[in-house]
Symmetry: C2
Subunit: 177 residues, 2 copies
């Protein structure tokens, strides 16, 4: 170890790198960062969402339904997109429906399934929550201190990873290890 003053995070990664030389630390380190920062962001956004009487999971759902599509999104597709169980969705949808933010609509030609749409109030709250995220989230503050280059590259690279994970999860649905 040198005498450079490492942060706790860097020190931890350096420790593991030296400990298990067989490890692919160059991929483990960014995954660890993403996992941890993702968790901290989730906790932080949950705190902001609670101002609206919602959880971050609620906003995630409303925000996804918010994005207009040709075909209104079905509950099953939503479970894939959000990477949660259908059971969890079922309960969340019922609660948001009772809160007057969401409505179920029939799908032509399939009486098993239903599609989802936001009410006027749901639309307003979803937008307000997203605006509050953009304004108040801790991570937004941290992102504001990055160089323009870094912010652009981060967005591009994370977008690539986001797409790749979406595809892998979708592909891995039928046969899961």
């Amino acid at each position: 170890m040198g005498d450079t003053p490492l942060s706790d995070v860097e020190a931890g990664m350096a420790f593991y790198g030296g400990l298990l030389p067989g490890l692919d630390i160059h991929k483990l380190a960014p995954m660890w960062h993403i996992f941890n920062v993702g968790h901290m962001v989730a906790v932080d956004l949950d705190r902001i969402a609670s101002r609206f009487g919602l959880s971050i999971a609620d906003v995630h759902l409303l925000g996804t339904v918010r994005i207009e599509r040709e075909e209104p999104i079905r509950a099953t597709d939503l479970a894939s997109t959000l990477d949660v169980s259908q059971a969890a969705l079922s309960i969340r949808i019922r609660r948001l429906e009772r809160a007057g933010l969401l409505i179920k609509t029939m799908i032509a030609g399939d009486r098993r399934a239903f599609a989802l749409a936001l009410t006027a109030q749901g639309l307003q709250i979803a937008d307000a929550a997203v605006a509050a995220f953009a304004r108040d989230a801790k991570l937004v503050r941290a992102l504001g201190r990055l160089a323009d280059d870094d912010l652009g590259n981060l967005t591009r690279i994370m977008g690539t990873l986001h797409d790749a994970m979406d595809r892998m999860i979708l592909a891995g649905k039928p046969d899961d290890t």
Copy 2:
């Protein structure tokens, strides 16, 4: 909208950017990516950890204790580091202790608190789980397809954000909104 075939993710961000022009989409987009990828990684690592009879939260705890320090880490400090409640820690520690992976040790000069250390078995399982993460995680596969430049920049930038979030959370503990 142009005729470029956008991914769902990019289409969603473009939608919000056009919808609410006041939004700082340049910071909202990367935050959204980090939140979503972080969640998908957590689900994936949880699946891998279950091979060892552990949750990702268990491995997170063991891995953090694993990192050697001058002073063995206390339970309260661990709650800050992991960004979970003391109550959750309390229960998880008891379970890991009963499983024979973790031991509580006395702290000289303070009979309220205790420190944590891994047993030989805990050490072995923690390392095995981390090795399994590096080998089998979906995100590791996705990271393997990045250009070397991108991987390096991602690691550096996410490390910066990780540190920044750690500091903000630590600073925000006494007075939380």
